[in-house]
Point group: C2
Chain length 406, copies 2
């Protein structure tokens, strides 16, 4: 029976025509390290470079289902060189963060959304299913074990990287019926250490991140490597990240930036603000931070919450709507284009200072320079960043988004 | 210095602003296995399931360059779980085959084309460069070491899988400055064990393999995993592989099938034959077998070679030209559509019996059934398959395509 036939039914078993074990926290084996590592100073942290003391790991095979999960000392994994994770990129991951709340307990941010997306990504790559509640419980256990690794400093957190890789060790081009699921932890500071300095994006026309019918709306490993060469070429021209475009009848549509979602802020004649991000049309990753920004803008406008620094009388109207480079040029010419910012779990919110557009690779990019807001983040970028960090760190309670690890 | 700054200069060094060691066959370390494995009967071989006794391996880091290459017993590799090959699919590979020639020596088929493509794929993923001549020499050495694994039977060969994976062990989304290069070998029989039975393709509209600005023309791991779910769904409906389409102004353009290139054979009023394959527009893998089929068709028509079973007076006109599902329907209606076949290193040539097309996923596919040729392969499929196998196995010498490992 192929692994797609099984379904996670939440009782510790995957059910199909036969029943095999699902991921089961009651079987967790914890083996603690004999030698705790020294924890680096938060200020010295480079994103994703330092790993904590422990990792969570479980394996799947089609006979025995998911193995007993194990928390054990962080260390290497050993695989057959023919494994499909190397050959065919049957790999998917998530990005989450843990924070220390005011009560001293570890907290996660909307973790059920990451679990659901990981399950969808695994299904898209024909990897085995797993119980998402069970994985979340196991991640909480791992975070508690390594809680001393959570930096207790604003803008800092413990980055969590759940990963599933296909481990079928045969070269036939087909789905992996073996898998390894693991979760690793890395203490992190601000993703861009540019401080108040805005980032620069290069909207290059030559490379395209995602396409209708592709995997752009799933967090699969294969979406990332093709961006590294464009990113390096952008860096040589002085840009921090790529602004990804997709050309169709509408023109050069803006989709994402680097591995982040994009928002644009427009002023309105009535004094309100329009906040626009591309719609989830299959080419856009349904980001947790993206969803959170849309939700808090809506809550501000409906009076359920006040964004810091934005008057409660000034509405922020969120739209999921396609926009193009030509739209940006026009809004700029009209004096409406106030802010452009990027969001994601790693970066939270970063503001963009300029956008280079290069539709002819033989010519240099022309720059669209955004309003400078006296060298600070624009008011909307700053407000949503502060509100999300306050909710993540448990300073503001909102809609059950901050979840204790207990 | 980033790895893209280096260039392979063919003197054992990568050159940039500093010089570091390139892949160097003169440094090869050979460690033979103490226990040779039993070799399976050729008839029992499943593609890519059995590995030979030895593998070739070398590693790259930005300080020391490429390590001394090693031929050693086949075995697992050990990596940090944060490695970019798992997280971001910084992985690329090649498919090649070794044959036993009439003189008893091992032979490769146009291997310089695979080396050049691997170098292009590595560059596309911002992986370190390597000397392609050095890698080919090392592969020949490995094949000679494991020569007893080459099945000496028509349609059988030793499949060769060169692989490069990024091994940077940090989660920041950027190029891998560490890599592992390895080559593994697997004795193989016919890819489809359908014998004379043709394969069935499902032309599904929902998923797209490659797009302009994507990586479809490079052999990168991330191109493959997204095809596994569509492939499984096709199998449930009784089809062997997906026929990949790309919709644009021209309609539903045919691109590839599974992981293979596609050819269509049309009869002409003058008695000649048109042989058409999609052009290398950036969405098509530049297959070695694809190129070989075009070359031998041209050679037949110019009188430099005679395809077996095709009269030398009947020209076979090769075209690299876009065609759509609507074109196929029209050619079928006109009675011109004679054969459809797929080509690739693993499959060599396989003929297609029917094509299902499903533009509405809620409705069943409608089938286009190709002429049956009395239950055999059509004359052009059969001719190009036989000619390529004869050249691969050294029975026919052609243009230096069959290269001895010596």
């Amino acid at each position: 029976m192929s692994n797609s036939e099984w379904k996670s039914v939440g009782n510790g078993h995957l059910e199909g025509s036969i029943s095999i074990p699902d991921l089961d926290p009651s079987k967790l084996i914890v083996t603690l390290t004999a030698r705790l590592k020294p924890i680096p100073q938060p200020e010295s942290l480079v994103f994703g470079a330092t790993m904590s003391d422990h990792m969570l790991i479980a394996s799947f095979d089609p006979i025995n289902g998911w193995s007993a999960p194990e928390i054990k000392p962080y260390g290497p994994i050993t695989l057959d060189p023919a494994s499909s994770c190397f050959q065919y990129a049957t790999n998917t991951f998530e990005g989450m963060k843990a924070y220390i709340g005011p009560d001293g307990s570890a907290r996660l941010f909307r973790p059920e959304k990451n679990m659901a997306r990981l399950a969808r990504s695994a299904e898209r790559l024909a990897l085995p299913p797993f119980n998402t509640d069970a994985l979340l419980e196991l991640i909480k256990r791992l975070v508690v074990v390594d809680q001393r690794w959570i930096p207790n400093l604003e803008g800092h957190s413990l980055y969590i990287r759940p990963t599933i890789i296909g481990t079928r060790s045969a070269l036939g081009v087909s789905a992996s019926d073996h898998a390894l699921l693991y979760v690793i932890l890395s203490p992190s500071g601000p993703y861009f250490r540019t401080g108040p300095k805005p980032i620069a994006l290069l909207a290059a026309a030559e490379n395209v991140r995602a396409w209708p019918g592709g995997t752009g709306s799933h967090k699969v490993a294969g979406n990332y490597a093709p961006g590294f060469l464009p990113q390096r070429n952008a860096a040589k021209q002085g840009y921090d990240q790529i602004l990804w475009l997709l050309r169709d009848k509408a023109g050069w549509k803006v989709t994402e930036a680097g591995a982040m979602n994009v928002f644009i802020v427009l002023s309105r004649e009535d004094g309100d603000i329009d906040l626009i991000t591309p719609p989830l049309d299959g080419t856009i990753l349904p980001g947790v931070t993206r969803d959170s920004v849309l939700a808090i803008a809506k809550a501000h406008t409906s009076g359920n919450l006040t964004l810091p620094g934005i008057p409660s009388t000034q509405s922020v109207h969120p739209y999921e709507q396609t926009f193009t480079i030509a739209d940006m040029d026009q809004w700029f010419a009209e004096g409406r284009l106030q802010e452009l910012f990027v969001v994601g779990t790693a970066v939270v919110v970063a503001h963009v200072g300029r956008v280079g557009f290069q539709d002819d690779m033989k010519k240099p990019a022309r720059d669209l320079v955004l309003p400078s807001h006296e060298g600070r983040m624009g008011p909307v970028s700053r407000a949503v960043r502060q509100m999300i960090i306050d909710i993540q760190q448990g300073k503001v309670e909102w809609d059950g988004w901050s979840v204790r690890c207990e």
